[in-house]
Symmetry: C2
Subunit: 443 residues, 2 copies
């Protein structure tokens, strides 16, 4: 094996498993062992799958996910484990059924290793999880455990979710790939909501190819998700390859350049030079987007819908909510309907603007976050990721370099709705140019 | 001519015009003359088209609407007339452009006779318009002038709009055909909104065939209407004919039977017998719909969105709003966002229920309104029409009989989303069975 099992991709592991070079049990126990060693420092897990050893024997070989161990954010319902949302209110909750995406993973014979730490109710309160690159830095939120598990070699892939920036930001902070598909492309059935106009399922992997593999297994219409969209998903993501011509890339400078820290700015400029040298056609995108209004509307929609989600529990047990969740609910409860309606209309118009803008390019790029991971009293700012969640366009973050403190930085890449093909193939091209091979300083 | 010009259908007039038996000018002046005689009693008009005589000369003959005079509810913007919404705030408003649907009518060479009375801002305050069947009865609202103009022989067709029951109720009260297509099928660009989740353009005609003809000219995607839907509209409504086999009809009894007055119940039962005798397969539809919650959610959505529509004007000129509009705005302003969000979720689930229910039948039928037109201190109750507006399914009302007081009663017919073909062909079949030929007791 050229690479250690703990840092292999789905693609690599799948080959080892199907050629019988390793067994599913061997792989699972190896990763379990690593988990047990690292978890006391990193706090990735909420619940480990009690049936893991049994499951590892049930290998199938028709699926690329057969025998692949995965972490699942603890807001996804699971038939055989608790789903706590890392909240005292749900600490004993056993839904007894699988979220649609978990079911799809099991159908593809993936091995569900267990449930990973989420910030409380997938909002902004800091989690116990630590950043494997530097334990004094935040792993980001809200999909903290899923991101850190992939970054630290506990599992090759994990499910998360994004309402503002909860997949792409932790991906960026932890040096892994974070992907969020087009709104409506992947079912949210069985996942505890934050705000249904925004919530998008997503995942962490070690390569763009792996993100594409998961999309193939997880996308598709689901009548149980009220915003699920009927589109043909199988054809355009079946076998993603790097784009075969130099990609045409637009840079989103407005707002992003003025809010990035110096280290990010400097490193991002070098990235652009590198991409350009490799043949990419790069130009400044004339976005004409009003980012202040975008973020304000995003916040209104999130607060109001989260208030609706939590209202009944909040009335009975207000003190069991963490401060940031509480603030969101309170703000939401105090917002009049017409303010919410205005924000929804804004979202609709803005979504069209983004669609029009992104149509021009193979992809738009910008830094994923303002800076590398900040310290642990926060999960970091979601303002760089939220605009694309709100527009519902697919987005991916790739690690591309370390900053002066040795912390990973991510580049965010977006494309038009349901244009995952271009997004992924352009991202694969960028990935091959940046060739990020750094690993966190762990055992 | 077998029929007087004033009670001819579009179909009949189009034949007369294209065979040159009458000229567009002759027709327009004839109807103008009738308008001038009747309007002092009926109050149909807000503004007559000052260019009418010029327009009547611009006859084309490629369109079935060429030379057909039409009334336009005074919330549709028009390039050459005021658009007042019958509100003191807009009494001098000259938009200078045509609503998309008005533009489409002009492109089809229809003659825009003028702007018809709406209740203030298309809400529930009684209008000055009178019911031609009995001047002491309401014409219904909000598209009062458009309905009465068609009923009294001033023009063969007119545009209205429906947020609760503002097309089908006045159609029923005045003994004409009222039609509202699937939500998203006809552009609302340039029409003053009430509540954008509910507002649907619609029209009044003297036959189902005429409703279908207008649909052919007025349907289609419009990027300027945020809820416009991309569907192929031309194929399935090009040449609607009565359904060629006995239609399979579901009766919606729940809620409708318990709220209809005795005269409506009695007459509706005779209608069912008549349809059954003519060959229709009729059964009770098992709706399992919670009409109380439907109407409550409808009200919340309407109030909140109307508050958003009017908020800026209301802050400056509260006293220029009529009592019913005021009440809607006040209720809306005082509704928290989470209540609105719940109603929107309810609407989504309910819409799926209706879609599933209506799929089983060629059409569902029920009385259009609780009773014939009540007296003029009200525009009548919209509770029989609002459920289908909220579900976004196409709906039509046909006059089928007079009640004991000689007032017309309507049957409401609905079908599944974008299933206008079945709705219209089933309605044509019903129309031919009921053969309603009564006319209001006018000159």
């Amino acid at each position: 094996m050229g690479k250690s099992l703990e840092y292999s991709t789905i693609e690599e592991l799948s080959k080892l498993l199907s050629s019988l070079e390793i067994s599913t049990k061997e792989l699972a126990l190896h990763l379990l062992d690593r988990s047990e060693k690292l978890d006391p420092d990193l706090n990735v897990w909420v619940t480990m799958n009690p049936n893991l050893e049994i499951e590892t024997y049930s290998q199938g070989n028709t699926s690329q996910l057969a025998g692949i161990p995965m972490g699942i954010k603890d807001i996804y319902c699971t038939r055989d484990m608790k789903t706590t949302c890392c909240s005292p209110i749900y600490e004993k909750y056993e839904p007894g059924y699988d979220a649609q995406t978990v079911k799809m993973l099991r159908d593809a014979k993936a091995v569900i290793m267990g449930k990973t730490v989420t910030t409380q109710f997938a909002c902004g309160d800091p989690p116990p999880t630590k950043n494997p690159w530097n334990l004094s830095r935040t792993p980001g939120g809200s999909s903290s455990g899923s991101a850190v598990g992939v970054a630290s070699g506990m599992f090759p892939a994990a499910l998360g979710s994004q309402t503002a920036g909860s997949v792409l930001r932790p991906a960026s902070y932890n040096g892994v790939v974070g992907f969020k598909p087009t709104y409506g492309l992947v079912s949210r059935q069985g996942v505890f909501p934050v705000a249904l106009s925004l919530d998008t399922m997503g995942w962490f992997t070690r390569s763009v190819k792996d993100a594409a593999i998961l999309l193939r297994y997880l996308s598709g219409y689901d009548a149980e998700d009220k915003d699920s969209v009927k589109v043909d998903t199988k054809s355009y993501i079946s076998n993603t390859e790097p784009i075969s011509r130099p990609p045409y890339i637009g840079i989103v400078e407005d707002f992003y350049y003025e809010n990035s820290d110096r280290s990010t700015m400097k490193t991002f400029a070098l990235l652009l030079a590198k991409l350009s040298k490799a043949g990419a056609i790069i130009e400044t995108a004339n976005t004409q987007l009003d980012f202040d209004s975008i973020l304000k509307s995003h916040r209104v929609i999130m607060n109001c819908e989260a208030a609706n989600t939590h209202k009944d529990n909040y009335e009975i047990r207000p003190d069991d909510f963490a401060p940031r969740v509480k603030e969101i609910i309170e703000n939401g409860l105090n917002t009049p309907a017409h303010t919410y309606i205005q924000s929804k209309h804004f979202q609709q118009n803005y979504t069209r603007q983004v669609s029009k803008l992104s149509k021009k390019y193979d992809a738009l790029i910008m830094p994923t976050s303002l800076s590398a991971a900040p310290t642990t009293e926060t999960t970091g700012e979601p303002i760089f990721q939220a605009p694309w969640t709100m527009a519902g366009v697919p987005a991916i973050s790739l690690p591309y370099e370390l900053d002066d403190d040795g912390m990973p930085l991510g580049v965010q890449i977006i494309s038009n709705h349901f244009n995952e093909l271009n997004l992924l193939s352009t991202s694969m091209w960028i990935e091959s140019v940046v060739n990020f091979t750094h690993k966190p300083p762990l055992i």
